[in-house]
Subunit: 368 residues, 2 copies
Amino acid sequence: MRRLTQFLLLLLIVPLSAQTPPKPIVSPEVHPDHRVTFRFRAPSAREVSLEREGAKRLPMLKDDQGVWSVTTDALDPDFYSYSFVADGVSLIDPSNPLITPNILHTQSRLHVPGPASLLWEISDVPHGVIHRHFYKSGIVGDERDFYVYTPPGYDPGGRSEYPVLYLLHGFSDDASAWIAVGRANVILDNLFARGRARPMVVVMPLGYGAPEVLKRVGPRDASLWRTNVERFKEATLQEVLPQVEKAYRVSKDRNQRAIAGLSMGGAEALITGLNSLDRFAWIGAFSSGGVGDDYGSIFPGLDAKADAKLRLLWIACGKEDRLFDGNLKFIGWLKSKGIRCTWVETPGAHNWLLWRRYLSDFVPLLFQ
Amino acid sequence: MRRLTQFLLLLLIVPLSAQTPPKPIVSPEVHPDHRVTFRFRAPSAREVSLEREGAKRLPMLKDDQGVWSVTTDALDPDFYSYSFVADGVSLIDPSNPLITPNILHTQSRLHVPGPASLLWEISDVPHGVIHRHFYKSGIVGDERDFYVYTPPGYDPGGRSEYPVLYLLHGFSDDASAWIAVGRANVILDNLFARGRARPMVVVMPLGYGAPEVLKRVGPRDASLWRTNVERFKEATLQEVLPQVEKAYRVSKDRNQRAIAGLSMGGAEALITGLNSLDRFAWIGAFSSGGVGDDYGSIFPGLDAKADAKLRLLWIACGKEDRLFDGNLKFIGWLKSKGIRCTWVETPGAHNWLLWRRYLSDFVPLLFQ
C-alpha cells in the first residue's frame, strides 16, 4: 500500500511538475448553449487574445488571479484550431491536450460536440484502418511517410479491388493532416455506413517535393514552389503509387483512381491529375492556389479530348478566401479550353471548416 | 504570376497570423558540440525556466528584446521532452514544431542527432508499417484505438506466422506513445536490419481500463486505479487480442507471445502476463509501479509451476526512480515464490531516455 501511495503521488508529481497554479484552469469549457470559455493563466502578460479558426481575433480579459478569459458566442458544432496570443507570441492552451499538428504552427483544438448527423463525429459504425508507411524517396532524397486508409471490411487476402483516392494536404501540414485535423477516416466511415459512398482506399502522401519550401516562403521563391509541386507529382506517381498498388487491393484502372487536395494540395491535385489523365479520371481541388496564371504552360494538353477523359473535375472555394478570384479565373480558362468542371462556391474562408465539408460532398460523387 | 504572388503571400500570412515578433526566434538550436540553446519570447514574464526530461530545471535569462534563453551543457544524442515554465505555467516552445503528445501535459521535443549506431535514429533500412485500428470497447464502454506494427517484409497474404509483443504505455500517454515518443518502430526496424532480433508484430493498445483515472489521480483512488488495470487486462485479452489474431498473421502459441510495458504499463504487463501464463511466456516490466505490495492477492497463482512456464521475466528500473525500491521489494517477493527473473538496474530516473534503451535491450531476448 505504501508503494501504491508512492506511485500515485508520483503520478501526481509527473504531470504537474511545473509549479502548480493556485487553482486548476478549465479550458476550453463548452457550455450547454455552445458558447465556449477559453482561459489562460499569464499573470504578467500585458495583452492576451484568442485566435480561432474561422473567426476574428478576440481580446481576453485578466481576472485578479492572473487568468485571462473570453467567452465566445454560441459556436456551430465542429472542430476549431486556436491559439492564445500573449504579447505577440502565439501559444497553445496548456490546459487542453487536443492539438492541431502542423509543421509551422502548432495550435490547440476545440471540439464543440454535435449530433451524429455530422459526418466528422465518431459513431458506433464499422471503422476503417489507418496505415502509416515509411520509405526513402530517391526523387526527393529524404526519409518520408504516407498514410493509407482502408475501409471497413477491407480484406488484404480478398479478391475484390477497391477504387482509390489520393488525398493531399495543404502547405504547412504534414501527411497526417487529413486524419488528425480533417477527420477523413471518420467522415469516410460514416459515409460508407450510410451507403452514401462507394467503399474506397484513400492514400495520403507527404505533399512536399522540395521540403525546403517550408523554410523559404515568399514571392521570390516561385521557382522553388514550382519544383516543390513538380517533384511531389513525380514522387507520388513513381514512388507512392507503385508501393500502394503492391501492398493494397486497389484497381489500376484510371476510372477507379481519383486525386484531390486542399490549398497547395489542390494545386498539386490539378497539376498531377490534369497532366496524368491516363491515370486519373476524377479530380478535386478544394480552395486551391499557387498554380500561377500561366495556365497554358502548366496544363499544356488540355483540350476537348482531355475533357472526354474526365469523369469529374470538382473545384470548390470559399467566397471569403483570398484565393477565390484565382479560382474563378482558372474556371474561366478551363471553360475556354472546353474543359467542363463542377464549380462550387460556398461561404467561408481558407480553413478546415470548409475542407471537412468539401470532402463530405466530394467523396459521394466518386466512382459512381 | 499575380495569383502566385497572392498565394505565396497567403502562405506567409497563414502561419504567421499572430502579430509578427520583431525577429525570428530559433529554438531549440543544437550547436555542433551538442550544447543546446533554448529561446522563448515573453517580454513581460517575470520568471521563465526550462524543464527538460532527465534534467534539473534551468533558469532562463531575458535579453533586451524580451527573449529568454538558456544554453545547456553538451547533451548526449537523444530525444528530450521539454517545456518552458513561464510564471508557473508550463508551455510548449512556439518555435519548435516537434511535440511530445501526452493526454495531461503536451510538451515540446528536442532531437540531438546521433550516429546511426543509435537504434532510435532513422536509417536507410527496410521499414515496418504502423496500423491504427478503431473499435468500440464493450468492456470499457468507449470508442478507442490500438496500434499494430508489422515488420519489414510482412505479407498479409503470406503463410508464415509471426511472434507478437504487446507493448504498453505509461500513465498520461495515449496509444501512440511507443511510436511517437518511444520510437519503437524505428528501434525495431534497426534491430531487424542488424539481425539482432526475430521479426515480430508489436501491438500497442490504449492502457486505460477506466479512463476516468486520468481525471482523478490521488491516493484515495487506489480502487479506481485497480479497476483501471483489471479492466485493461480484460479489454486486451477479450477485445484487442482476438481482433489482432483475426487481422494479422500472428502465432497463437503462448511461446510466441510477449507482453511488456513502462510505468503503469509495466504494472499492467505484470498483472496481465503473470496471471495469464497460458497466453504469455515472455514478460517485461520497465520502471513499473502501482501494483501495490499485497502481491499475494494480486498474483495468486505464482509458484514453481508458474516459474517453469515463464521463458523470460525481465524487470528493469533506474536507480534514481522513486519506484526503484518498490521494484526491489517485488523482486524479493518473486524470489520467495521461486519465480526467477532477470533484474536490470540502470542509471537514470523515470523517463523515456531509459525506456527506449530498455526496449532495445529487451526485444533481442524475445522468442529465441
